[in-house]
Structure formats: structure tokens, C-alpha cells
């Protein structure tokens, strides 16, 4: 066997581009960071312990932001665990801090430290404590240390990228199969909307609306996804039985699907859905990873195995590589094509359910232009539109490349119209690069 590295690069060269992009945005967004939330709390509590030992007398000051609530909780727990005394906890305005300080001073107590966030540490009320509250002793203001780190590489941002692209990436799995067979599926965006509307309506009308049970919601979503699968089966039948070009069939189904979605939603969005429905789209159960991202990873793993290890995968490639040769070798070409279009439609349906869950409503406006982003992800991932070639993990790379570019431009304040221009050029460049590399 030849050297594995060049082969890996040939198969997944786009990954290199993705890493370079990540590197670029990391450098560009490198800036001063102030820790917040629990990370900040940990730092502050440790600093207080180190400076004042286990008997420290502390005031905790934070604003009423959600991040700060976590900061307060964690700081208080850590300090109490180390044996320190938390004399007061301030959540809100500087005025509240002043009152707390006055109260402590009135009771004749002293103060060793004030645990602050970056913001509260700069409050005026703490600026001249020696003059304002001479009886408190000389309390030190402890704020979390600033450090330099790229905004791009922050954990929340990375998860945000993954979460943003999850829907497109999942739909792109099916699109990759279709494109590998030499076809195209333009209907995925519309099916996504249709599925979101169907799922939302089923929950509202049959599963009990706001009081729907998890099982009811599950069945509603399953029904929506399966109905999308039926649309895919219809497209597949048109393509295989009547030899209508996939472009035409799926273009027609794109209009039909979108129209149906609007009809079913009566032009409005459907939001009579229980809060628990957002579990799929916004929840994060496993290692704090968003559920949609976990689902995406699992689906990609399965699809990768299917394409590279299973008979069905071989057939998909063979049909796209040379349909006549495949047919004369006994490949059930029509069944294989059917599989691809049904899979694509089912995954578009799943994408619609995830989107409905993320937005806690179903609307016919979802998924607009998604087919193009999905196709872009597949193509940037190195799959040839003429069929027979392409890798599932390439598509994942392609989806992430698009997401990273969008996210990076958001972070660097490129406005959205310019973003479109850049994205278009990047797609072109990526494919150009891929082709010149393959020709070598």
C-alpha cells in the first residue's frame, strides 16, 4: 500500500482548509478575555483562599445577569466549603452593594475581601472604601484575571458553530448520497419546512398542544419525518419509473412541498408546543454538548459506515460512477436510487423537526434556500456533481467550512451582505482547489 498521508489528503484535503480557516479566525479574533460564570468564580474563590486563608470574611458582588448568577452560586459554595464567611451577597445594582456595606459596617464587622466580576469590580462604590467605610478594615477587591484568548476558540463559540450547522449538516448526509448517485435533490429546503409545520401541527392538533406528552411529541415528529419520506419515495419513483431528470422532479417537489407547508400552516407559525419540545434543539445532555450536535455526530458515523463498508454504499457509488456498467453487473439501480431519494427526504424531515425544536414553533418559512447551502456543503466537501465520488466525512468538513466562515465573519463584524459575497467566492475557491489537487 502507498503512503497513507497523501491518500488521506486526497480524500480529506478540505479538512486542511478548514483547519487553516480556524487558524486564521483564531488569530484575527485574538483578544482580551474576562472569565465569567463558574470559571470566574473558581478563580476568585481560589485567590481569596490563597490570600486570606480559611477564615476570610467576604462580600460577593455581582449583577443580575444569568452568567453572574452562576458566578455567585459557585463562589459562595467554594468559599463556604473552604471555611470562609460570606457576610453578604449582592445581586444587582451598585446601590444594593452600598446598602450591604453599610449594614456590615453598622454591625461592626470587618471585611477581608470583596469577590467581584469584571463589571462589578469597577463599580464606583468600591473605589474609595477606606474613606467611605473606614470601619471595615481594608477589604481587597478580588476580580477574575484577564487573559488573552481568541473569541473564535471559546467553547461557547465552537459549540455555537456546531449547533448552527447541525441542521444543514444532517440534511447534507442525504444530499451526499443523492449526489454520489449522480442526481440532485432540490426539495430538501421545502421538505424541511413541511416537516416542521407537520410536526408542530400534529403536536398542536393530536398530541394535546401545550400539554403534549414526550411520547406524543415523539410520534408527531416521527409521523412528520415519515411523511417527508413518502414525498422522497414519490420523487424517487418519478425519477426511476418515468426517467424524469432528478433536477426537474425535485424542483417540482420543492414547489409542492413549500406550497403544502404554507397551506398547512395557514401562512402563520404554529407555536402551541410545550416547552419541553426544545429538548432536541436546545438541550445539552451529554457532556454539555447540544443534543442536535450529538445526533449529527451519530448520524455521520452511521452514514460513513454505510458508504464505506456496506453493500448499499458500494451500490450508490457504482450507480453514480457508471450507471450502465452497474446495471449490467446486476446492481438493482432503481432500488438504489429510490433509497437515496428516500434517505434524503427523511433526513430533511429530521432537519425540520430539529429546527422546529430549536425555534419552538413550526413555520413554512423555515429552510428557505437551505437546499443551496446543503449542496454547497456537499460540493465543498469534495463530492463530484457528476457522481461516483465523494466522502461522507468530506461533507461534514464542507458543512463546517461554511459554518466557520459565517461565524468568523460575524465575529469580525463583516456585515451580512458582504458575507454572502465572500461565502460564494469561498465555495468557488474551495471547489477549484479541490479539482486542481485531484488532477495532480
Amino acid at each position: 500500500m502507498k503512503n497513507p498521508l497523501p491518500r488521506f489528503l486526497a480524500d480529506y484535503g478540505m479538512m486542511l482548509v478548514l483547519f487553516l480557516l480556524c487558524g486564521f479566525f483564531s488569530v484575527v479574533t485574538h483578544s482580551e478575555q474576562s472569565p465569567t460564570g463558574e470559571a470566574a468564580a473558581k478563580q476568585v474563590a481560589t485567590a481569596i483562599q490563597k490570600q486570606f486563608g480559611t477564615q476570610a470574611r467576604v462580600l460577593i458582588a455581582a449583577s443580575d445577569q444569568p452568567d453572574d448568577a452562576a458566578f455567585v452560586g459557585k463562589t459562595e459554595r467554594d468559599l463556604l466549603a473552604s471555611g470562609a464567611q460570606v457576610l453578604a451577597v449582592v445581586k444587582g445594582e451598585p446601590k444594593a452593594a452600598r446598602e450591604a456595606l453599610q449594614k456590615i459596617a453598622a454591625s461592626g464587622g470587618t471585611l477581608d475581601a470583596i469577590a467581584c466580576t469584571q463589571v462589578t469590580g469597577a463599580w464606583l462604590v468600591f473605589s474609595d472604601l477606606k474613606v467611605d467605610f473606614p470601619t471595615l478594615g481594608e477589604p481587597r477587591i478580588i476580580v477574575p484575571q484577564r487573559y488573552r484568548w481568541p473569541n473564535f476558540l471559546k467553547r461557547e463559540n465552537l459549540l455555537n458553530i456546531a449547533n448552527q450547522i447541525a441542521v444543514i449538516a444532517i440534511v447534507a448526509i442525504g444530499m451526499t448520497m443523492v449526489i454520489v448517485t449522480g442526481g440532485i435533490d432540490l426539495s430538501v429546503g421545502s421538505l424541511l419546512a413541511l416537516s416542521a409545520v407537520l410536526a408542530a401541527r400534529f403536536i398542536r392538533d393530536f398530541a394535546g398542544g401545550l400539554d403534549a406528552s414526550p411520547a406524543g411529541m415523539f410520534l408527531a415528529c416521527l409521523a412528520a419525518i415519515l411523511l417527508c419520506g413518502c414525498v422522497g419515495a414519490f420523487s424517487g419513483a418519478m425519477i426511476t419509473r418515468f426517467s424524469i431528470p432528478p433536477f426537474i422532479v425535485t424542483l417540482a417537489m420543492m414547489l409542492v412541498g413549500s406550497g403544502l407547508a404554507y397551506l398547512l400552516a395557514k401562512g402563520q407559525s404554529i407555536y402551541q408546543i410545550p416547552d419541553s419540545f426544545v429538548w432536541l434543539g436546545r438541550g445539552a445532555d451529554l457532556f454539555n454538548l447540544p443534543n442536535a450536535v450529538v445526533l449529527m455526530v451519530v448520524l455521520y458515523a452511521l452514514a460513513h459506515v454505510l458508504m464505506s463498508r456496506m453493500k448499499q454504499g458500494r451500490y450508490l457509488y457504482a450507480v453514480g460512477g457508471n450507471r450502465e456498467a452497474a446495471r449490467l453487473s446486476g446492481v438493482p439501480v432503481q432500488r438504489v436510487l429510490m433509497f437515496a431519494y428516500v434517505a434524503s427526504a427523511l433526513l430533511a424531515g429530521l432537519g425540520g423537526v430539529i429546527m422546529a425544536s430549536q425555534l419552538k414553533s413550526g413555520s413554512a418559512t423555515y429552510g428557505n434556500m437551505y437546499e443551496l447551502y446543503v449542496i454547497a456543503a456537499v460540493v465543498v466537501g469534495g463530492t463530484s456533481l457528476s457522481g461516483g465520488e465523494g466522502k461522507m466525512l468530506g461533507t461534514l468538513t464542507g458543512a463546517f467550512t461554511i459554518a466557520v466562515i459565517q461565524n468568523g465573519m460575524n465575529l469580525t463584524n463583516v456585515e451580512s451582505y458582504t458575507q454572502k459575497v465572500v461565502l460564494g467566492l469561498v465555495i468557488l475557491g474551495a471547489v477549484l482547489l479541490d479539482q486542481s489537487r485531484q488532477r495532480q
Partner: protein
């Protein structure tokens, strides 16, 4: 008369394709008012020569003179300007455009940039009158019959005042009545001073229409005579005259009971009521000229095309084959004529190509067992002496002989009972050829039934136990005693 240069003269035309010397110093002359019939076996170089004349291919050497003046054709457009019109077997008409639009395609009559439709119609009507065409010139070409389309092609040639008209097997798809009309037309064109080059495999009509006959064999001129100085027998001898110098392994198998029996196969004009049987251990050759319906017949049996009628039996059992999948399941294998278009997925590895018809056997619970796949293929690489650097080699990067061996391997692994070899040695070097012949013998010895399609008459005579000759979709003859058969005998049946 002595000093008038001929209307067209081609001198010393040489044309080579990778691996094939298609034309070796071919000369050709056509006088004004003459019909020259160009004869030759499949692959003799007729088509290539006409493509050079039509400007769609460039000669490596040689010159073309029109009325004594040397001209260079860099494109079909140049040839057209010099007055050469080529009517290929596959017409060059745009199906959606009307007859008038097709006639003036690329030579539109315009006035201030607009198509002068009235003028075009008038001219088309004149041409139609001259050709005796009795259909509406505003009909889209896709709705015309073959004969009508041919008239449109001729009208097109006349519209730009072509003086040299090349017709490649113009009578192949016509009825007897239509052919008679065509001949009348050709005689009329002759009287108007056109030089006509007529390619045909129907020797009978050659005597009706030709003034002179020029015969090509293996890319060389072998004969050029007036029609009055040549007999049918001589024509055939000159066409086939190839020597039996290829080596063939000795055949030792005695054919047994019939295995594959087909009767009454039918599909349109391509296959008309074909019946035959192949016996255990037998190599049956289907031969005939290109377009005689050999490949079409095999495709019908294999389920690659739907058949209109006909029964297929394997070992006495009636099979209802409707797709290649079913044919393969029944134990058939097809080595297609065109490996690149139909036999292999060129962009994929040789291993994947090998496995394609065998995936069901090679997988468990839907998962391909890579280890078994590699081991099986490695065995066939050894057995067939396939020269590949590794199993991941792209099939498109192999030589013809090795590609054919990969295709063979994929069917051998299936242990097929009936194998169809369509032009098994086309584009393959001598050494690999011998190996493939040897393999066919081994398969026959193992009791398989083999149907071989071949245009190479020496190969047919050297390999087959029995020969069936097809002509225009029908079996025109069977040769049982192959040892005493001659190429002339086959050709006689093939040109019918």
C-alpha cells in the same frame, strides 16, 4: 479528358490512433458524375477516411485535392466550404428543428440579421421538388421517417451546393421501395455532375449503383476497379484477404447437451426472430457486420433491453428474465463490447469493480467483508495474471487487456454457467489475446456454454465450434463444420 483533374483526390492519407494504425497511405479519387463505392470489412478504415474527408478528423499525413487544388480541412466547416457533404449513418439533424431549419442550419439566409424565412422556404420547396420529397418542410425532424430524414440531409447538402457527397450505408435503414427512390436520386445527382462516395455492405446494390469500386483492408488500398471488371466473389476475397496468422489454442472439448436455448427473440428492426441453442462446453460465435444485431441479441437474452417476444431456456428451464439482475441470478455473465462505457466503473478501484456483481456473496448483514473481497480478488489476479500495482488502482488507468481481465474476473468469481463475450479481444495486445482465448477454452472445458460475438473472422474461425451469421437482425446462416469454413463463406452470408 486526359488533363481534367478529378473532382476529388485524396493522396497518401495516414491516420493513427493510440495503438491502432487506422489508415496507411490511402489514395482515393472521385470524378465528377461518378459513383464510387467504398468497400471494406469492419475496421478497414472506411469511416476514418470519410471523417478525414468531412473535416471532423485530421490526417497525420497526406493531402486532399479538389479539382487539382490542394486544400486543408481543419473543421467540418472547411470541408463544407470546399463542397464536401458527408451524410453519416447517424444523421446530423437537430430533432426539434423543422426540416427547413435543419437544411439551413449554419447557412441561414439572412436579411439585416434576421432569418429570411420566406426565402428559405422557397429554396427548400425547390429542393424538395427536385428530390421528389412529398412532406411538409415545416415538420420537426423528429417526426420524420428515416427515409425522409435522409432526404433532408441530402437537401442540406444541395443547399450549399456540395459537389462531393459521401453517404455512409444510406440504404441500411430503408425499405426496398425507399432504396429504389434513393438510387433514382443518386443517378439524378450524377447527371448534375456531383461525385458520390457510397459506402455499403450490400454487395447486390453495389452492382446496381456503382461506377467504380474501391476496396480497403486494414487501412490500405487493396483494389480499385470499374464495376464491370470485378465480380462479387472477387470483392469478397479482397475484403477479407487477411491471413490466418493469429495463434489460437487447440480446442479439445466435445460439446454436450444444450444449455442455453433461445427462440423467437424479437425487438424492433434490430433483432427479428432469432433462435439458437448453445451446448455444454461449446463456443458459439455470433458474427456478421456491425449493426447486424449481434450485440442486440445478446442484450435481449441478458435482460439489458426489453424484448418484444421470445423464450429463453437454461438447461431446459424457462426463464422470465426482465433485468440483468435476473439474468445474473440465473447464472449468466456478459462481457460487454465497450468495456469503458458498459463494463467498468472507470473512476473506481479494480477491487470495487471486481466485487460489484459479487457483493451479495461477499457481504454479511449488509456489510462488505473487506478481507474476503481482497483475498478473492488476489486469487483472480494470480489466476488471470492481471497486471495491477495494487488492488486500489483505478480501473481507468489499466491497459485494455488488463481491463478485460478485470471484467473477466468479476464474472468468473460468480461462476456463471453461460458467458457472453462481446468482442472479447478488441483493443487488446496479442499476448493478452492468447490468454483470453485460453481462458475461454478452459471455461468451455468446465462445461460452461459460451457465446462469442466477434467481427474478427480469423478469431471466429479459430475459436468457435459453430458459427451463426447475422444480417439485419436475422440469422442468415449457420456453419457447423468450422474446420473447413472460410472467411469468404462467412462474408458471403454477412453481406447477404
Amino acid at each position: 479528358m486526359t488533363e481534367t483533374p478529378p473532382l476529388l483526390e485524396m493522396r497518401g492519407i495516414v491516420k493513427a490512433f493510440p495503438g491502432v494504425q487506422a489508415l496507411r497511405r490511402v489514395n482515393l479519387r472521385v470524378r465528377s458524375g461518378e459513383v464510387l463505392v467504398l468497400l471494406g470489412e469492419n475496421g478497414a478504415g472506411k469511416s476514418t477516411l470519410m471523417k478525414v474527408l468531412g473535416g471532423s478528423q485530421h490526417a497525420d499525413e497526406g493531402e486532399i485535392l479538389i479539382e487539382g487544388r490542394a486544400t486543408r480541412f481543419n473543421s467540418p466547416h472547411d470541408a463544407r466550404r470546399a463542397g464536401v457533404a458527408v451524410i453519416y449513418q447517424e444523421f446530423n439533424l437537430v430533432p426539434a428543428l423543422t426540416a427547413v431549419e435543419n437544411i439551413f442550419l449554419g447557412q441561414e439566409q439572412t436579411r439585416a440579421g434576421f432569418v429570411a424565412q420566406k426565402q428559405e422556404r422557397r429554396r427548400a420547396a425547390e429542393l424538395f421538388a427536385r428530390l421528389g420529397a412529398k412532406f411538409d418542410p415545416d415538420t420537426p425532424c423528429r417526426r420524420l421517417t428515416t427515409a425522409q430524414q435522409q432526404l433532408v440531409e441530402i437537401a442540406k447538402a444541395l443547399a450549399f451546393e456540395a459537389r462531393i457527397l459521401v453517404m455512409d450505408e444510406p440504404s441500411a435503414a430503408l425499405t426496398a421501395h425507399e432504396v429504389a427512390h434513393l438510387f433514382e436520386l443518386i443517378r439524378d445527382l450524377k447527371r448534375h455532375g456531383l461525385g458520390i462516395i457510397y459506402i455499403s455492405h450490400r454487395l447486390d446494390e453495389v452492382f446496381t449503383i456503382a461506377d467504380r469500386v474501391s476496396i480497403l483492408r486494414d487501412g490500405q488500398n487493396v483494389d480499385d476497379r470499374s464495376i464491370h471488371q470485378i465480380t462479387r466473389q472477387e470483392m469478397i476475397e479482397q475484403m477479407v484477404g487477411r491471413e490466418l496468422n493469429d495463434e489460437f489454442p487447440a480446442r479439445t472439448v466435445k460439446p454436450g447437451a444444450p444449455r442455453l436455448e433461445v427462440s423467437g427473440l424479437r425487438r424492433g428492426r434490430a433483432v427479428r426472430d432469432v433462435s439458437f441453442a448453445v451446448r455444454r462446453g461449446e463456443i458459439l460465435a455470433l458474427t456478421g457486420l456491425v449493426g447486424a444485431g449481434r450485440t442486440e441479441t445478446v442484450r435481449l437474452i441478458f435482460g439489458a433491453d426489453p424484448r418484444e417476444a421470445g423464450e429463453i431456456r437454461l438447461d431446459g428451464k424457462l426463464l422470465a428474465i426482465r433485468s440483468p439482475q435476473e439474468a445474473i441470478a440465473a447464472g449468466m455473465g456478459l462481457l460487454t463490447e465497450d468495456r469503458k462505457l458498459q463494463g467498468l466503473v472507470l473512476g473506481h478501484s479494480v477491487r470495487e469493480n471486481f466485487a460489484l456483481p459479487n457483493l451479495t456473496e461477499l457481504s454479511r448483514h449488509g456489510f462488505v467483508q473487506l478481507g474476503r473481497e481482497r483475498a478473492d480478488f488476489a486469487r483472480y489476479i494470480d489466476l488471470l495474471k492481471i497486471k495491477v500495482p495494487h488492488q486500489e488502482q483505478r480501473a481507468g488507468n489499466l491497459s485494455g487487456g488488463n481491463q478485460q481481465k478485470v471484467v473477466l474476473a468479476k464474472w468468473l468469481a460468480r461462476n456463471c454457467e453461460v458467458l457472453f463475450f462481446d468482442e472479447p479481444t478488441r483493443g487488446i495486445d496479442v499476448g493478452a489475446k492468447y490468454e483470453i482465448y485460453q481462458l475461454m477454452n478452459d471455461l468451455a472445458a468446465a462445461g460452461k456454454a459460451i457465446v462469442m460475438i466477434s467481427s474478427e473472422l480469423p478469431e471466429v474461425l479459430g475459436m468457435a465450434d459453430r458459427i451463426l451469421v447475422l444480417h439485419e437482425g436475422q440469422i442468415t446462416g449457420e456453419i457447423r463444420d468450422v474446420r473447413r469454413a472460410t472467411q469468404e463463406q462467412i462474408m458471403e452470408l454477412a453481406v447477404a
